[in-house]
Amino acid sequence: MDPGDDELIRAVLDGKTDHFELLIQRYQSRVFATARRYARREDEIEDVVQEVFIKAFQKLSSFRRDAPFEHWLMRLAVRTCYDFLRGHQRNRESTFTEISDEESNWLDRFNANPADTTEHSQAAKELVRKVLEQLPPPARLVITLLEIEERSVKEISALTGWSVPLVKVRAFRARAAMRKILEKMAREKYL
């Protein structure tokens, strides 16, 4: 039988650092999925995940066992992803990409018949990625957690360390910012 998280953590803290490898194996797929929501290039994703586990190793002594290790690790992962977004803010501003023909066609189809346009097309997925990349880091984080991962405000507060009212304010601003980007996109396309 595999040892539990608590057992592994205790061993790592006692100096048996090799046991940390089992913790990485157990949770790396979840951390990779989280990192892929915020970073696009595979080398950036690997850097983010590596940073998450290095931080986890260094801060392991501060982990209190009142909540599962997974929750603690995911909190660390979300905060590292947020730091990544903030660090790459300048790149985001300088790499505005025009919408492709497929994305433009999807918008045309949506404009003609919103109900029959599928959200499962690759064009729609690419388009929303481009819109999210133009959002400021707090807005992107809150939209991803609230609207895409469908987490509650309370959960987001615990993950990010922001207070509940701050999450609500940032969610309101994020929706407004997203709307503004879409309005600009529509203006450029249809006027």
């Binding site: 940390f20 990485i24 990779f32 997925k125 609207e147 895409i148």
Partner: protein, 95 residues
């Protein structure tokens, strides 16, 4: 174009686009090698250790100072001096 509808549709598209949880081959080995190469000190743990070590000398200094204050205050009438000092502005005002 109805912006609210586009926003809803695009968010639905993002929800439908589940990110892959694929892990590169032997990724955990890479992290372990990195951890072994550069054992970085945990600043918080170091700070906590130093604070604990400082507890005993601080307590000793506190006890020594308390004893010194207690014994020097006894018999030299310093309570009177203290009273004079504290009440000096009042006395000056009344004069």
């Amino acid at each position: 174009m109805n912006i609210d509808q586009v926003q809803k549709k695009l968010l639905a598209a993002a929800r439908a686009d589940q990110p892959s949880d694929r892990v590169p081959y032997a990724f955990e080995k890479r992290i372990m090698a990195r951890l072994k190469d550069s054992p970085v000190a945990d600043v918080l743990a170091y700070w906590e250790r130093m604070l604990w070590r400082a507890t005993a000398p601080c307590a000793a200094i506190m006890i020594a100072l308390s004893a010194w204050t207690f014994y020097t205050a006894q018999g030299n009438g310093s309570e009177i001096n203290l009273e004079d000092t504290v009440l000096a502005p009042v006395q000056l005002a009344s004069e």
